[in-house]
Symmetry: D2
Subunit: 264 residues, 4 copies
Amino acid sequence: MSSKRKPIRTAMGYSTPDRIVVRGFDLPGELLGHINLGDMAFLEMMGRIPTSQESVLFNALAVTLVEHGLTPSALAARLTYAGAPESIQGAVAAGLGGLGTVFVGTTEGSAKLLQEAIPDPKNPGDLDALAQKIVADWHARKAILPGIGHPLHKPIDPRTPRLFAIAREQGFDGPYIALMERVAAEAARVYGKVLPINATGAIGACCSELGIAWTACRGIGVLARAVGLVGHIMEEMHSPIAKEIWTRAEDEARDHALGTRSES
Amino acid sequence: MSSKRKPIRTAMGYSTPDRIVVRGFDLPGELLGHINLGDMAFLEMMGRIPTSQESVLFNALAVTLVEHGLTPSALAARLTYAGAPESIQGAVAAGLGGLGTVFVGTTEGSAKLLQEAIPDPKNPGDLDALAQKIVADWHARKAILPGIGHPLHKPIDPRTPRLFAIAREQGFDGPYIALMERVAAEAARVYGKVLPINATGAIGACCSELGIAWTACRGIGVLARAVGLVGHIMEEMHSPIAKEIWTRAEDEARDHALGTRSES
Amino acid sequence: MSSKRKPIRTAMGYSTPDRIVVRGFDLPGELLGHINLGDMAFLEMMGRIPTSQESVLFNALAVTLVEHGLTPSALAARLTYAGAPESIQGAVAAGLGGLGTVFVGTTEGSAKLLQEAIPDPKNPGDLDALAQKIVADWHARKAILPGIGHPLHKPIDPRTPRLFAIAREQGFDGPYIALMERVAAEAARVYGKVLPINATGAIGACCSELGIAWTACRGIGVLARAVGLVGHIMEEMHSPIAKEIWTRAEDEARDHALGTRSES
Amino acid sequence: MSSKRKPIRTAMGYSTPDRIVVRGFDLPGELLGHINLGDMAFLEMMGRIPTSQESVLFNALAVTLVEHGLTPSALAARLTYAGAPESIQGAVAAGLGGLGTVFVGTTEGSAKLLQEAIPDPKNPGDLDALAQKIVADWHARKAILPGIGHPLHKPIDPRTPRLFAIAREQGFDGPYIALMERVAAEAARVYGKVLPINATGAIGACCSELGIAWTACRGIGVLARAVGLVGHIMEEMHSPIAKEIWTRAEDEARDHALGTRSES
């Protein structure tokens, strides 16, 4: 019942008694003190250290996704911490679990749309025609265009012009950002309402300019939000809100079940 | 059955239609393009943007903890991804779950030891006497001193001198690093063997110099390792090893149970 | 910035000083000692206590999914436990994370196929025609039919005839099992190879007979596997294998990176 | 750099083309249709099928821990589901993460206390003297006795008399339950207030009677709560509350930050 064996390989890193190698670099000598955490994330994901231009843009993308206040993800982490304060890692893990198709994970949608529309950024084709075709297709399927529209941030999502400005300052003024802008404009025309490019749309476009595959985009959201969740747990340690959220919900449900709460 | 309500407050951030505020800063205008991901982690944890000196040291601490090859944590993430490739966040969450008292979480042990020994770094007292007392106490309790010794990295852990050099270059040459060094020297004398300060010991000492409470140290490990786990999942996408690890384990156990494998 | 509030309600349960109510039942008086854990799962999911016939079948479905040896999920849980032995819950959580579209989660696929084909089990229509249409559709799309075929268990999956026998003994001999059998036979004919109904196919059909919505089927797998993962952690406590799996993988990768292993 | 290899073994189970073996039993032939899910959990944890007496008590213990309404754990699972509805397993995993030292995990505390006090249940010694010594020790250390007292369920926790009655009906009327009762009575005397044996105390005593090691007790809570969390996700699918809990918290925090909410 033996089967043919494949080798176990990794390019991520390894250690010997006197060396720690990460992605081919000597960790103490070549990375510590030389690159920041965002560059390290780029190295982990892309296998090379970013240029200084890539570093600025990539760090900005990651920083964008760190913190968004009392999100469901942050609340889940805090409620988990309340039950297992000895396990910070478990609280952060719980918070990450919700970064799926509704929140954060959506970054990959716009990147996929853009990268499928422009497989080769050196030959992007007619961007206006692409934008019209994309919006027409999604409109016909009654599907929600990824990266467009926001329930709160109207008429513009303030992160988008800033991220696009940083991209342009750093020399990433390519066809993906241009297509995203055309898609948003065409969508506004076809749907007849204000449809800003939201942060996930901007990030999807910038990732595409950086050569990051759409399948990897959710990963940036996951690592960035892990940073933010650690921040929430630090605050929960000294200014807890989890117990209050719990008891309010529990009391309201109980009072209703018992018929002891007058409904307004 | 109503109970007295406490308010729900957070200093982490909030959003309005035209603003996204993080830790009191305007995210697009004051943070994006201005700070890197490590600085953002510092801001999340400490409530303020680091100085340039703090930034260098804090980023180095975080970068140290990102990647250590095929750890149990990385393997757990990869095995989870194999079952649910649609859920990168679930794979990273699984990998984080193991950052407990055996791995990574140990950072907090040395920070606790140092911060309890020196409550006020401006009045550290006699460091030699402190080191002797600490080693004598732990030795008497037959407990393993945190931050000292390493199964692989001998006679020194190559990360430690580099981190301490960075700390000193950036002006963090305080009593915590000094005490950690004295504890290691005293432990080597008392135990009669080579006992290097390991990376968690170095990080615990540097965190203490930065004013980071020991209760927060595990958080740095968690957010750093989240970055590394995303890297492992990116590699698992195109160079998978999870299935091979699984089938080897399963086959060996089955062959033994059936008596069809000759034991060496 | 206030928004209209919706009430917080739940039918799952609540507590008062002298009562604990679960799904409308008094937990101590009406459930403890009266129903087993599988019945409790049915009550939680369906809102009512199963009949004795439903109890036998539902418990059999759940028991089927508890244990399958050293799966990726079990290995992930054990590797997580190795790093955080103080957190059994974190190890089980890690193991659950992999129950996605590749493993266990597949139960919902066959249930969805069957329930969409027969919306009303009292009027199932012509099952042979349905089976032909289903197989033709999936074959034309070059998609893999859910619930059919198994890499190991050939020519039959031994769980399937047993589950169908239990279903029939308990009076659940309805159109969903019949359609599943016809789909398998038709698939074998069209694809020209042996294609057994696998356990997920059998469970999907039995869930459909029990009136369990396909969207809920993955839940049975999740709760059942949680039982199995606790079992693996209990074994890992006294007969650990995680460290061996880790060091083998790590050593092989390192030896390759260093060129110190002769490849066979 | 090779190291000595240990074998990979498990007694949990394995599969061959025509067999699925779990804990030495043929799954289809010997387990399906013959044992319920609680018995399967006992088999997984203890390595043998329970007697009918053990089955009744063990199932009652597990059923006790399944559901307790809108707990922090249930809320965390629901909030996670809101972000990743495609990943039921991730939501349940998030909910499990909080079963630590504050909730559910506490079951192990009373079992530990009892099992350390009575290493050999056949020679329990003087239970009154044991109880006095235990309470005096914990009182002197100003530590909170595990298994005693409850914030809501006063003067008695209604689960406790029922579980003890079931235990006695099934022939488990041993020294651990007797000691737990004496500890509670002595604690009430020493602390001068009503201190009921709570559910975790009752479960710890019953587990001890069943020969379940205290280190395994948290596992029962984890698997039982996984059942309950699946129930909550099923309800969240059709009667969601996560979004409401989120927006209430977010709005209140934002209004306070903006100074637009008058505090009562």
